[in-house]
Amino acid sequence: MRFYIGLLSLVLLTGCAQFQPHSQHAININYFQLGDAGYQAWLKQKDKLVLLAQAKRDLARGLEQQPDNIKAQFLHYRASAALAMALGKTDEAELLSYFNKMNPSLYPETVSPAYVTYAVLYNQAQQADSLEKDYSQLESALFRAIQQNPYTSQNWLLLSGLYREQDKINLALATAKKAYQMMPNQFENTQAVAMSLNNIAESDVCLYQQSDLLADSLNYFEKALKQAGPRSNNLREYIAFQHFRLGEIQVAQQTAFEAFNREPKYTNSLLLFEASLLTANYSAAEQALNYLQAEYEGDKTRQYPVLLALAQQDNELLGHLLSQFLADAEKGSQNPDLNLYIALLIDYIQQNTEDASYALRVLKNSPRFYDLYASERFDSAQRSAFISQFDNVCDLSDAYYLLGFKALRVGYDKLAFQYFNQVVNQKAYRQDSYLWSRLMLNAEPMKAFSAYLSQIKALAEQGEAQAQFDLGLELLLAELIPQDRLSATDWFAKAAAQDHLKAINLLAYLYLSGELIPTDINKAVRLYARASALGDSEANFQLGQIYLNGEYQRQDSKLAFNYFTQAAEAGHADAYAELAHMYLTGQGTLVNEQKAFAMLEKSALAGSYQGQLQLGLFYQQKADPESEMTAKAWFSIARQTLKKSGKTSDKLNQLIDNLVVPEDRVVVKIQALQQQMADYKASLPQASR
């Protein structure tokens, strides 16, 4: 009976003209179903507000009939809120009274009454273009919304959006995280965190210095994409963006391509274009370029074909495109507003002098760049001074890029190559200078270096020992590319593993000397032993040295003697000298002056400066004219072997001068001895020469 009475009073309260007085069967009418159907109908025809108003009325009756039914509560509230929003005016108190009567379990999926106020205000502000001055009103609506319904993340999400619009990046992040903590499975929340993290990273002078934040942001974007499913293409763009900025260009290219294929837009086509250039996927780049040119005209778009031509090394097209730029520039004004990169390229190609330089015109407002580019000087001191003015990778990238062009201008191609590589090395991946540098490295003047490098790189990667050794050397010596000792060591190790003797010895030396990489005697000894096993005399000699002087290893004269002997047998001149010394002093063997002399003689013949000097001294001590003549001859040969000036050389000169023997006979003697040396060398086994 209660229902019946309830219904009658409801009819009285909400009765309208068409509403017939109910028979008692009216109790069996399910108003909720009517209202539900009406609401669904409105969803399909949102312009028909009558439907919504009727649905709200029916749902109100339905709610009277089924006050506890959460579907009825939910739908009635929804319809009321929708009607308020559609009409652009809201009675927050009314909505709040409905809201407060709802089952609390609905709150997490329901908007707050104040949210409706917010939405209405926002729409009005947007239409009046007065968002900025209404921020505080909007914020306070959202604060109320949070207080009314603290169980939905939506209000926090909107708040985060408001703060982002106002560039309050920290608050934007804090509020986005609040939303995310509440409902971590809603992609909007995850996306808001990602955006806020990105904004904070972008607020840095150079965002590449915040790669941690970029990576975090990427993580959230990827999570958001998983949550959002295929519908959110924007997220895919953001993801491509962050991958790009983090240097994962291959992934960025694929992601951008996916986004582009789903729905081409300016951002994803641009990303696709750039990433495709960098990954040499020119057909994709062309696809993106076609779209960009068709949809977005403008100066910026005009440089893209240049980039593509440069990348594809189509010099003819490049020239054509650049001349168009020039023609337009000349036509346009006195001060053609050329892009710096285009200007630099034109200057270089046309070998423009200072007066004709387009780049200088562009650089007028950047004094540091202007000075460098205009300067007559180009020495290392000036270059270091220039670079030291910049302290972040973004600026450094640009600075190195300018240096590269300056080097090209003065004809230092190898140096230019190195500078472009420096730009790349800064890892400011989406800096324009990065893209240009990558392309310049493959351009005409530097093509050979690139080709060489890429050749040895390719071969090295295929496992060619010599190429691995060469690549190691390049990385170590850093003439073309920035030095990378660790990579160099890795390549040497790879070559060494293939029994590349030079690599083994060099690597052993690097470990022993500790000049470029940290000392590691054990590794050095193991490497030498390996070379020794392969019959390398230098390695044997080095091992002899190591065991003889005991600086790195336990001193072991006998072992040293053995290694020296092995080295000597392969014709290692210094090894003979060491053996001679050991025979004389009895280290590692018995004293044997005869053998010592024989060794000394072989050492000298084999070309050891030490041997020659010692042999000379030996003959000098005999103090007969013949011996003195022989001594003088050996000293002279030693001086030739020594080549360089210095103390030792001075001492030798003194020794030579002290011996008074006929010069002509000395010359003959020298010639005889040199003949002996040549004969000796010829007698040595082929391999050890």
Binding site: M1, R2, F3, Y4, Q24, H25, I27, N28, N30, Q65, Q66, D68, N69, I70, K71, N103, P104, S105, L106, Y107, P108, F143, R144, I146, Q147, P150, Y151, K168, N170, L171, L173, A174, T175, K178, Y180, Q181, M182, P184, V193, L197, I200, D212, L213, D216, S217, N219, Y220
Partner: protein, 806 residues
Amino acid sequence: MRLILSAQAGLSVRLNRLCYFLKPLFFILLTLSSLVAAAAHSADRLAPELKQQALLPEQSESAEILYSNHRLQWLDDQHISQTHYYSVRLLDEAAVEAYQELAFTYNSDLEKLEFEFAGILPADAEPLDINLSEQTLLSDFVQPDTKKIVSLNRPEANKKLTLFVRQLTVGSILEFQYRVVSKLSHYPGQFKTRVSPYWLQSFKVGSKGPESIRLDSVQNYEVQLKLSKGQQMRWQLQGGHSQVIPASASSPDIKVYHWQMSDLKSLPVHAYLPSNETFLTQIEFFITEDMPNGSSASSKAIGVDRMAAADPKRLKDFIETLKLTQLFQQAQADKAKVIEAIFDYIRTQIAYQPESLSTNHFSARDTDNLIGSRYGNDKDLAALLITILAQFDIEAYLAWVDLDNYQLIQNQIDTKSEISMLAEFDQAIVYLPAQDGREARWVNLASDFIFPGVDNKWVGLTVAVSTNASLTQSLLQAGSTGVEQVRLQSIQIAELDPNLADIRLDYLPVSAEQRQVILKMRAQGGIEQKLREIIRQDNLVLSEQTQLESILSSLFSEQAEFELDYLIKHLDSNLKPVEIEATYTIDQATLSYSVGANVAQMFNLVSPFEQLPPREQTSAGFIDRNELAIKMSVALKGYPLKVASLYQHSLSQLNPYFSLQQSGQAVGESHQDYLIEFSYRQPLLNLTGSDYSNFLTEVHNLAKLDSWLVSFRTNPKRLADEQLKQAVHRLGENSSQALLEQAEFVLSRGNFEQALNLATQIVQQEPENAQAWYIVATSAGLIGKTQQSEVAFEKAIELGFELAGE
């Protein structure tokens, strides 16, 4: 009493038949001379030898009764003997199959049935005797409750004798003769019986097919009635029955009447006999008191005077013991309770022994005899109840209920003789008129039901109530004192316990995987009686699933899997309604947090609609005198931290025929439970055909009503509060971590000022707490303290606050 024949009726009609056999005159002379001896051990045939019968020409293609001969005799010892003879010629396989089993039902307490002989004459062969001891089987006879009223007016038949005649072949003739002798002496106004030429053969088509009846044609039919001098019996002929052939007196002391007919056509019946008393061409015999014969003397010997002459001591002792019973003592001055106590006491002390209702034996036994023997029939018990009630100054009247509800009107009483009118009534009950502020009541001791023992289906039945408070002057003397002492009434629902059912269901979460449903069902009136009857029947039959279990299982859909455990209470009580408590254990793998209830569950349990006649059968209208009220309360017990959320339900129904109220509400401290109430009420229905059609439509609409579905959904407020509470507890009440949790909490609730205060408090104690700085920064920023916010953000980051941390 009106005879209604149906499948079951047929069986006992045979028993009621007093058959009379008119032999050829020469044969009568022979038999009469040895009558006394024959009455004891009658082996004399009532029909010619089978070989002689075989000469009769065939007149049927299936089966025919050759002889249907009957003898009715009022013996000198006042017992009545009925001998019946039938012979059947079977002419096709169907008939052979139908006649292989012959059933005879009777009440062993009231009458004795014995076979005299049976035999078969196969076609072209020598006669076969049937060995009666080997080929008969005596068994208890139980009639299904539902058929009692519509059937044969013999609720008292308790035995069934079955004769198996498997040797039958096509062309053979089967004969059998049996004798029924009453165990009671018959005095005026105590006897009535009917005889028909037909033999009602009931059979089943196939072993499990429906029961059918054959009424085959009859070639020769005779009834013989023998009365000694001074004995007088009346008869009434129905359906074209032949008139009596002039009586012949074999001796001065014996008069013989006989009736004879031949070539009666077979009657076309199928499963049920029409309720037409003329249908079977019957003759009705009865003995009335007003007959001027010798029995009037014996009439005085019983009844009033014998009741009055009863030894008062036994009754006194009986009442004294009654007063000692707990129930009686608890009743004290409450007369209603006293009545119940007396009811219970008589039920426990005196066994109800049914008696043939057709005997017009209206007199109760004297109380002395009754209490002494500890058993009695409906009249005895009613009389005893009235007698005892009188001792406690409670007014009570003997009443006679007409179970067939023959539409008697007062007018008929005047036109019919009182005795024959009263013969229409079947059972003695007691009427308690409204008195001492109590409403009028009907009480029946002769049933299995609890107090008041009246079957609620009797509502609307006509009852003849003695208008004289004094039992001694009641119906016993109706014949002589006149009809004005009897008033006709009909039983009103208000005079019985109302038909109520109260069902309570508790859905309890046992664990995350299991729910338990506890059912408590209580009923009153007709619904209780129905339950009781179902349980009684279940106890008689062993089966895999009892009827009650299938009813209890119908609480859920067939797909549901559960374990059922149940208990029946008060089954033995004479006063308390049975109660059923059942526990269902249900695995809820998929529906973990949703449960429901619906109207169908209520109706499945008490199903008031199961026996509604089909629409097309009620063009004449439909009467349901039983008002009905069913209630079901469902309590869905929830889970902590969840709130009961109704997401589907149906609306109350109100129409001219019934009302169904449905309501539900969340209950409990945090609305974690949900309570649903269903209430169905149906008033007395007296519907025309089209109204009935509308009523059926409304009933069918009930099946379309939505279920109530409640989902236990997370209560965000409780969850948040609880999480905070646990965190604070875990971290220690006053720790800065706990403060931090609180600060986060109030921040989430939109209390930015408070969050700022709390977080500031923390950073004052722990200036290195990066997280606290972050809260300071956030809350300060939210309330517009931009400067403070910026500084605090920097501080937090400087102290290593992870911006991307979750």
